[in-house]
């Protein structure tokens, strides 16, 4: 990664992009920015998941010594946050923008602030602050230190230096940025209701795209989903994860862990998991995810160690 950042905002005139007027322009501007700064621009992982951190480009790539710089949008599913399209801020499906930079560059904060400028946030007009917020995911055997970034008191980004993943020290440490896209867009566009966001500059709103989806999916999440089938899916994902682990394909195993995690969230939304059972289900998901990460790290370790003699798994 070069230390000279490229600011694609300067090229706005050419592309006609205006992040302050369109959700998709904001995303495309972030893509331009991070692409110009050496990231591979990935597409969303094609599975249902609760957070961008679950994407293998984040979790699995945080392991090992190889440099890795990537940016992508990840749709997130949070079944219990569904509000049938009636709450201006809460959605059961929304977007996160993830950037992962490994090793964490010395100027990572400046890079991040430049990305905010690119989408139209002037730090002399808005009060940008880094407020302590550490991150921990027992499910992934992972933790890190960092901040939530405030813009005039609103949390717009989670900024984390990964210290451990899958129970292993991150060597080297990766910096992870997670932008809450809808929130940022609402701020930049000056809109109080997520469904009023302009999706593009041609009259399509966020509501046009997603409102009906939120209504139907909220209903399905809370009321319709066949719980016996979900329990069955959970069991099958768990079994398949074990099968993949036994056959030394940990990436496939990890996918099944993601699946189990989401099915568990659906069961929660259906209200069929008691308080006592909850801890046990979470433990099972944690087991799958951790085992997959561990297996992946162990499988890759000889190759990594050969390329990076100064590196070791533990």
């Amino acid at each position: 990664m070069s230390s000279e950042h490229t600011n694609p905002a300067q090229s706005t005139a050419l592309t006609g992009r205006d992040p302050s007027k369109s959700f998709q322009d904001m995303i495309l501007t972030l893509h331009d920015f991070w692409a110009a700064n050496g990231c591979v621009i990935l597409q969303p992982y094609d599975m249902r998941m609760g957070a961008g951190t679950f994407h293998t480009a984040t979790t699995l790539r945080a392991l090992g010594p190889e440099p890795w710089n990537a940016a992508f949008v990840q749709p997130c599913r949070r079944p219990t946050d569904g509000r049938y399209g009636e709450n201006p801020n809460r959605l059961q499906h929304y977007y996160q923008y993830q950037v992962i930079l490994k090793p964490s560059p010395a100027d990572i904060q400046e890079l991040y602030l430049d990305s905010l400028k690119a989408i139209g946030i002037d730090p002399l007009a808005h009060d940008i602050r880094f407020v302590e917020d550490d991150w921990e995911s027992p499910t992934l055997g992972a933790w890190g230190l960092g901040w939530e970034v405030w813009c005039d008191g609103m949390e717009v980004t989670q900024f984390t230096y990964f210290q451990q993943m899958g129970g292993f020290d991150c060597k080297p440490v990766a910096g992870e940025l997670t932008y809450g896209l809808e929130r940022l867009a609402m701020y930049i566009q000056g809109v109080d209701n997520v469904y009023d966001l302009a999706f593009n500059q041609h009259g399509v709103s966020y509501g046009d795209v997603f409102l009906e989806n939120e209504r139907q999916m909220s209903k399905w999440n809370f009321e319709v989903a066949e719980t016996d089938a979900l329990f069955d899916l959970f069991a099958k994902a768990e079994a398949e994860c074990r099968n993949a682990l036994a056959n030394d394909v940990p990436i496939a195993a990890y996918e099944q862990a993601i699946e189990a995690s989401h099915v568990f969230n659906l069961l929660q939304a259906r209200g069929v998991i008691s308080v006592q059972e909850r801890a046990s289900y979470m433990g099972r998901v944690r087991d799958l995810a951790r085992s997959s990460c561990e297996k992946y790290a162990e499988k890759m370790a000889p190759e990594w160690a050969a390329k990076y003699p100064e590196w070791s798994l533990v």
């Binding site: 090793p103 964490s104 904060q109 602030l113």
Partner: protein, 714 residues
């Protein structure tokens, strides 16, 4: 003499860790320099979110040369021993000197330690300070973190300034070299700032929009927030914790006042204040003029920039607060859709402790105990039905949305919801206040219903955990049992309660359990001793008061009253002298192994006997009547004084009038002094000796009945 400046610049340090970091920096700097023989005077240590700075004025530029001598083996010792001595001291054998030690020629090594440049010592100390620095949480970062052993810091370390009298101290830590450049405010300053030394550091940073002195920033936040409020005709709700937190979040603090929609004022003010403070670090304001004391629809946020247009920043913050308050109002309204009794059913799903069942089980126990307190024990004398109702509902708010969001509002929200659904005021107040007293400055409840529920809640916590052998150990008290004990004590004190722990235990578990009662009482008395220490009541005075008769006193109010009376008595001249007389008498009896008790009382409990004829005769009867000789004057005077004082003191003790009991003892002071001055106890006449030892025994018993003076130290 030289001035030293150290700046450790890093990414944003959590506000809550900055005070500790300043102490740590000072401690390690002193440790390293003093170990190297450099005297360190006053230090200035500053912090901002992005830097720690230390200035040491008047350091020497060199340490003194030191000449040390080490005594070695005698001349003629085996070569091995001499060579070992040389190796240990780093000298050649030829350079050893020979001296005479008590007539033996002995080798000495002379070691010259030249003075060292302080700059070199600092260059060695800085990496050690960074390495040994203890943060509550620390991390690795960057390329170096490919090794687990890379430098750890609270957030990535980005630059070091180390200047001694303006000269760079050459040191390197993990690729970061020391220099003289730093950075100013993240947004108000561009590029690097060059520092000449300790003297221009703060001023140059100020020019770059960084106020490096954390106290100066705190002043700006405090004064600025007050001013913003008063300019709007409001009064700031002072909050020193917020002042310090905001000073720790900013390098250039700018307090700004904003307004929120008045409609949110329907939500309880505590909720608004907590939402603003915890989630957003905002101050809140009260109306200053006509409606003084009530919350105003205003907040003060602290920006870290001198914004182009402050109104834009304020408006952004207003929107965030509005969204938070909207959530709070949603919870407030949602929670009221159920009665507290309906909420309370949810407690069956919450585990109180794995060995102690659910919170619903706990509530049953508390309700039973609270009812017993007001109905059977009449301590306090309150309404039975109201108390029962309050106790049954006291934990219901734990399952409300609002308390789920803000656990610190437990109790308070229950009180609000109880009032909203029209429950009697006593019930709502008891639900609201039953956790009290929590902090030292917290009010202690006095309303009977509240007192009963509060006592029952605390007693149930204590008894439940004691029953399963969970007691606090050292600094570990995960179930806050010490706080519960102190709360119980303060309730007893404020309401003059005379509860005996054995009856409490009986009511709580349905049968007597002396062991549990004594365990709890001992724990309570330990807390009482800690509480009363500040008032000058010594722990040994409490020890002297902790038995009633020959049994542990299970009423802590009585122990306290007695210990307080002892404190004032022993603080008087009479008391101090009487104690000396008691100790002298006790020593004589011990030396003579005199434990005969001719009046037949022996080790029996005199209080149990009080009022019975044989007791009164023993305590007050004219013992000298039986003497086979004519007592000396001082002996007679002591006998007469005891005849009056002993029964009087015993009566007063029985009536729990401890001050009066001590006053009765005070009348013995002159007679006992005179007795020791004028009467020989160990008379050659065995009859006199026996009678006088019995008299001293009687004296110590009379004194000992008021308090156990043998437990008093010094």
């Amino acid at each position: 003499m030289a001035d030293f400046l150290l700046e450790l610049r890093c990414e944003e340090i959590p506000a809550r860790m900055q005070a500790g970091a300043r102490n740590e920096l000072e401690k390690l700097f002193r440790r390293e320099l003093e170990a190297a023989g450099v005297a360190v005077g006053d230090l200035t240590v500053w912090s901002t979110p992005r830097r720690l700075a230390l200035i040491a004025k008047g350091l020497p530029s060199e340490t003194q040369a030191v000449r040390e001598e080490a005594k070695g083996p005698p001349v003629g010792a085996p070569d091995q021993a001499v060579d070992g001595f040389c190796r240990k001291n780093g000298v050649e054998r030829e350079s050893l000197e020979t001296r005479d030690v008590k007539g033996r020629a002995t080798y000495f090594a002379v070691i010259e330690k030249p003075g060292q440049a302080v700059s070199d010592l600092l260059a060695a100390a800085i990496p050690v300070i960074i390495r040994d620095f203890s943060w509550p949480k620390s991390m690795r970062w960057g390329e170096a973190s490919i090794s687990s052993e890379s430098t750890r810091w609270v957030r990535p370390l980005s630059g070091i300034i180390a200047l001694l009298d303006g000269e760079i101290v050459p040191c390197v830590t993990d690729g970061l070299g020391c220099g003289r450049t730093t950075k100013g405010h993240r947004f108000h300053s561009n590029g690097e700032i060059t520092i000449d030394g300790a003297d221009d550091y703060a001023a140059k940073l100020r020019d770059a929009f960084v106020i490096v002195d954390h106290e100066a920033r705190a002043d700006i936040v405090r004064e600025g927030a007050r001013k913003a409020a008063s300019e709007a005709g409001l009064a700031l709700v002072e909050d020193e914790g917020l002042v310090i937190e905001n000073a720790g979040l900013t390098e250039w603090p700018v307090p700004l006042l904003g307004r929120f929609d008045e409609a949110y004022l329907d939500v309880p003010p505590e909720v608004i204040q907590l939402t603003a403070r915890v989630n957003q670090k905002y101050f809140v304001c009260e109306d200053a003029a006509n409606d003084a004391g009530s919350l105003a629809n205003a907040f003060v946020c602290t920006a870290n920039i001198a914004a182009n247009d402050p109104a834009v920043v304020v408006d952004g913050n207003r929107k965030v607060l509005a969204a938070r308050l909207s959530d709070a109002r949603f919870f407030w309204e949602l929670d009221q859709k159920k009665t507290l009794a309906e909420h309370a059913k949810g407690l069956e799903r919450i585990t109180f402790h794995e060995k102690l069942g659910t919170v619903a089980d706990k509530v049953d126990r508390v309700a039973k105990l609270a009812s017993w307190l007001v109905f059977d024990a009449k301590e306090p004398n309150g309404d039975h039905n109201l108390t029962r109702q309050a106790a049954e509902l006291c934990k219901a708010d734990l399952v409300t949305e609002m308390v789920g969001e803000f656990p610190e509002l437990q109790g308070l929200m229950g009180g609000y919801y109880a009032a909203k659904e029209g429950l009697p005021r006593e019930v709502a107040d008891a639900i609201r206040d039953h956790y009290k007293p929590v902090g030292q400055s917290d009010d202690v409840p006095t309303a009977p219903t509240t007192v009963a529920v509060s006592l029952a809640d605390k007693l149930d916590n204590l008894l439940s955990f004691f029953k399963i052998d969970i007691l606090p150990t050292g600094s570990k008290d995960p179930f806050a049992l010490r706080r519960a004990a102190l709360g119980y004590i303060r309730l007893v004190q404020a309401n003059n309660l005379k509860l005996s722990i054995d009856t409490v235990v009986h009511a709580w578990r349905g049968n007597r359990d002396a062991a549990l009662a004594e365990k709890l009482t001992a724990f309570l008395l330990d807390r009482l001793a800690v509480q009363l220490r500040d008032e000058g009541v010594r722990h040994d005075y409490i020890a002297a008061s902790r038995d009633w008769g020959s049994q542990p006193d299970l009423r802590i109010d009585r122990v306290e009253a007695r210990a307080r009376a002892l404190t004032s008595f022993l603080g008087s001249e009479d008391g101090a002298n009487l104690l000396a007389g008691y100790k002298r008498a006790a020593n004589i009896l011990k030396k003579e192994e005199w434990n005969a008790a001719p009046d037949g009382l022996g080790e029996e409990d005199p209080l149990a006997l009080a009022g019975k004829p044989e007791f009164d005769a023993a305590m007050g009867g004219a013992k000298d009547a039986g003497l086979s000789y004519t007592p000396e004057k001082a002996e007679k005077a002591l006998i007469d004084a005891l005849d009056i004082a002993a029964p009087k003191a015993a009566d007063c003790v029985r009536l729990e009038r401890f001050e009066d009991a001590m006053a009765a003892l005070a009348t013995l002071r002159a007679p006992i002094d005179a007795f020791f001055d004028e009467v020989t106890v160990n008379d050659d006449d065995p009859a006199k000796r026996t009678a006088r030892l019995d008299l001293l025994a009687r004296f110590t018993r009379a004194v000992g009945n008021v308090a156990d003076f043998s437990r008093i130290e010094g």
